[in-house]
């Protein structure tokens, strides 16, 4: 299976401000080969590929396509070189048919000969084994059908190099199997394929070689037949880094939230949480680890009353009484009115947790505006609270009335967490609380969470960095594709152990076996 190199990247470096997204990365893909690009979240896989698709331009380094040095400055340049990238977020016009989307933006005769287009699409379908009705409208399609449209779109444009960004993240096991068959056929056809993933089973089953990135740096490339799950995990997570995060002993540990048999599906009917059983204790920090999109967001939103469930129950036990209450079926407001104090930091800080155009005071009111007199809002206490937060957490803002949209990411996060903590919650849930923050700010946040833990609050910390999870939390629950693959003691668990739990569970093994 050797051929000339379809793609060769030589010492590519890309920085965003002070953040290094890719540092001196080199890799190559041959014609008729599938290369897996493996790495944890934030390891720079997507950034690297976006330099091939013309979205970013490297700071330094060289790109060779079919042996020739090229300069890719726009998506169009990328098209012209025969590179097609299938992003995680599909770029399709909902109201159009598959065929219309596929032909959109292509040059040609004024009148679109739909018959010819459809014929060509059908030809591609037959050749590679896609199943697609070219006349079906996108809004009637499942995610996997939409993905098919995106793939055919690149093939239709004559792409010889395909890059797929986590293609299986949105697919059911059956759909994944079909996709893999198709990708293998493309390989036989001489196409060069890169798939970005962090699912080890898929890597082992599908690809010829694996290149691993870790924190923006290139770790190495191995032949798949020489790799094992363990060796790949080690490459992916690296050596354990000792972090200087304090971890007070848990105090007064009692069940606070009991999640029982909870399952839920997304709007396409795909299960995102499958039979979750979990107890969140007071006085502890419970870490939740998992590949992005394994159901962390949904789990937190269910507890907060923002997401509906298919089945199961979520019970809340207040600290000073024995009367436990069911939270499912209550609106976020009702949950609060019942005296259940949940503090929730949504992933999308500005889109949901905060109002971008308002100042800090206005954002403090999002939680508290209902208090005060009957008709008027009380601005004094939120203003005081803002001033306190600025002082205590060191928020850098010209003025507490400056729209929070204009603050830097770290300061926005401080405002949000500060507000949530100020509500003196009994349960504090945070999702990716330190994403995009510098080290100092991150430590401030860890400190805040520890303070809450010492007060007897039940803290849930959804995180990405395994080192931090291991250093900060008392227990870590690992989610994999919506299922709990284990709950471990953070004091004794190892990084490899977590890495394996994140990427593997029983069902995926079956998928692999069936296909081999």
């Amino acid at each position: 299976m050797t051929g000339t190199n379809a793609i060769e990247l030589k010492s590519i470096t890309k920085t965003f401000g002070s953040v290094v997204a890719n540092k001196d990365v080199s890799l190559s893909v041959r014609k008729g080969e599938i290369l897996s690009l493996l790495g944890e979240n934030g390891s720079g896989k997507t950034t690297l590929m976006n330099m091939l698709s013309g979205i970013y331009y490297p700071d330094s380094g060289e790109i060779y396509i079919n042996g020739e040095k090229v300069d890719i400055r726009s998506p169009k340049d990328s098209f012209d070189l025969g590179i097609g990238m299938i992003h995680q977020h599909f770029k399709l016009v909902d109201l159009f048919t598959a065929a219309e989307n596929i032909v959109l933006g292509m040059k040609g005769k004024t009148k679109v000969d739909m018959k010819a287009v459809v014929e060509k699409i059908n030809g591609l379908c037959e050749k590679y084994g896609f199943e697609l009705d070219p006349y079906k409208k996108i809004y009637n399609m499942s995610v996997s059908e939409k993905q098919t449209v995106e793939i055919i779109k690149t093939l239709y444009r004559g792409a010889n190099i395909l890059i797929l960004d986590e293609p299986t993240a949105v697919l059911t096991p059956q759909e994944t199997r079909t996709l893999f068959k198709i990708l293998k056929k493309m390989r036989e056809d001489g196409k060069a394929i890169i798939i970005i993933t962090h699912k080890l089973m898929e890597v082992l089953e599908l690809s010829d070689r694996v290149s691993v990135l870790r924190k923006g740096e290139y770790v190495g490339t191995v032949n798949t037949n020489e790799a094992t799950e363990l060796s790949l995990t080690e490459m992916m997570v690296g050596e354990k880094v000792t972090l200087d995060i304090e971890r007070p002993e848990p105090v007064d540990v009692n069940p606070r939230i009991i999640i029982k048999d909870v399952s839920c599906s997304d709007k396409n009917g795909i299960k995102v949480l499958d039979n979750i059983n979990l107890t969140v204790n007071s006085g502890e920090i419970l870490g939740i680890a998992g590949i992005a999109g394994s159901g962390q967001k949904e789990l937190l939103e269910i507890v907060a009353g923002l997401q509906s469930v298919d089945s199961g129950s979520v019970t809340y036990c207040p600290p000073d009484s024995d009367k436990c209450q069911e939270l499912i079926g209550k609106s976020p407001l009702q949950i609060r009115n019942l005296g259940v104090a949940l503090s929730f930091v949504p992933e999308d800080r500005l889109g949901m947790g905060l109002v971008g155009s308002m100042g800090m005071t206005g954002n403090m009111m999002l939680r508290s505006y209902r208090s005060g007199t009957k008709f008027f809002t009380d601005r004094k206490s939120p203003k005081k609270l803002s001033e306190d937060i600025v002082k205590q957490l060191g928020v850098v803002t010209p003025d507490i009335s400056t729209p929070v949209r204009r603050l830097s990411g770290g300061n926005v996060q401080k405002v949000l967490i500060g507000r949530e903590i100020a509500a003196s919650p009994t349960v504090l849930m945070t999702a990716y609380a330190v994403r995009g923050l510098d080290i100092n700010t991150s430590y401030t946040i860890y400190h805040l969470l520890n303070e809450q833990k010492k007060k007897g609050v039940a803290v849930v910390y959804v995180g990405e960095d395994l080192d931090v999870l291991l250093a900060l939390c008392d227990k870590i629950m690992v989610l994999c594709s919506g299922r709990i693959s284990g709950i471990v003691d953070a004091r004794s668990a190892t990084k490899e152990q977590l890495g394996l739990m994140m990427t593997k569970h029983s069902e995926e093994t079956e998928v692999g076996d069936n296909d081999k």
Binding site: Y57, S331, P332, L333, V355, G356, F376, T377
Partner: protein, 407 residues
Amino acid sequence: MTNNSVHSKSSHLKEPLIRVARREGTSKLAAFFIKLLAIVLSCVVCLGVIYILTGSTPDKVASAMGGELFGFGTRQMNNIMNAYSSSPLEGFFRGLLSSKPFWRTIRDAMIMLCVAIALTPAFKMRFWNTGGEGQILMGGLATATVMIFCADKLSPALLIIVMLLASIAAGLVWGLIPAIFKAKWNTNETLFTLMMNYIAIQLVLFFNIIWDTTGGAGYIGMINKETHAGWFPTDIAGGFLGTENYIIHLLTVIVLTVLVYIYLGYTKHGYEISVVGESENTARYAGISIKRVIIRTMCISGAICGLAGFLLVAGSTHTIAKDTSDNRGFTAIIVAWLSKFNPFMMIFYSFLIVFLSNGSKEIATRCGLNEAASDVLTGIVLFFIIASDFFINYRLVFRHKTAKEEK
């Protein structure tokens, strides 16, 4: 992180010569000066247009505007000013306060402000209420109906109160209908409210024929012409404010402006409106019922528009006709939007618009143009102000040399 990526991305792609970038945090003062500059520029253009068309010089234009808008140069004002020649300043103010043109300007500006104030809560919620025209007309129609049928049954004070309530109710209903459809079925509110205008116009035309007093011309004519029942008195405060003052309009609308300002800025309802306008997701996160906020806010918006209709019919035209509202529902959209919900700016723009349209009507007559020129001039000024927004919210980035060095 996201900020950085946008920046790096754009600087690394093939950069066009001039690129547009969003600008954050332009100071209010700077914004105001940009606006002012736009207005000055547009006035220069208008004066140029007038000069080219008629040969009238700016001083002639200014005197025309002064006369029409404030009564400068009228015989009445000259008399008063002469009487106070020992104290010119007092004479000036007395002359101004007793001048009919001055009060008419106030009246028109106040009604414009009233409508703009009415639309503001809806806009703040990102609900495009293009139905102000219809809501005003329905308010006016309700007022006229009460004036016609209840004049001899109710005491003067009670009559006014019933008229007021009827106008508010009518405007409210006209605002409520599209709101319900928006809240429940997400029906496009811009188009819905737009259509409601013409249904209101047809209703007004219908009743104009039913209650025709002219013998077939299709006009209601002055209602209660003899008794003045339901008319606002215009000689309140007597000689000091002249025999035709509109102090009721002034007080009502200013009080209303303050109330709406407080409502939006300091009440729970107002807070909810801001959150819904900013992001429905955030509103849901905070447990705000979006449907309820939409319906409640449109009731308020429609009700105040109805009140504007009341001010028009009871206090100004004393009749209801198809053109009673005179496009105020539309013009006020521009006023409300340009003011960015700031009440002081809204007062400023209301006066500006009234100055423009009333003043340029006079200019047109004096300079031998026809009346329609006023719309043209108003249009030109509006274009400039609308365009000036761009320079407040965006900046132009010229291609840097660094982009070339990279090659």
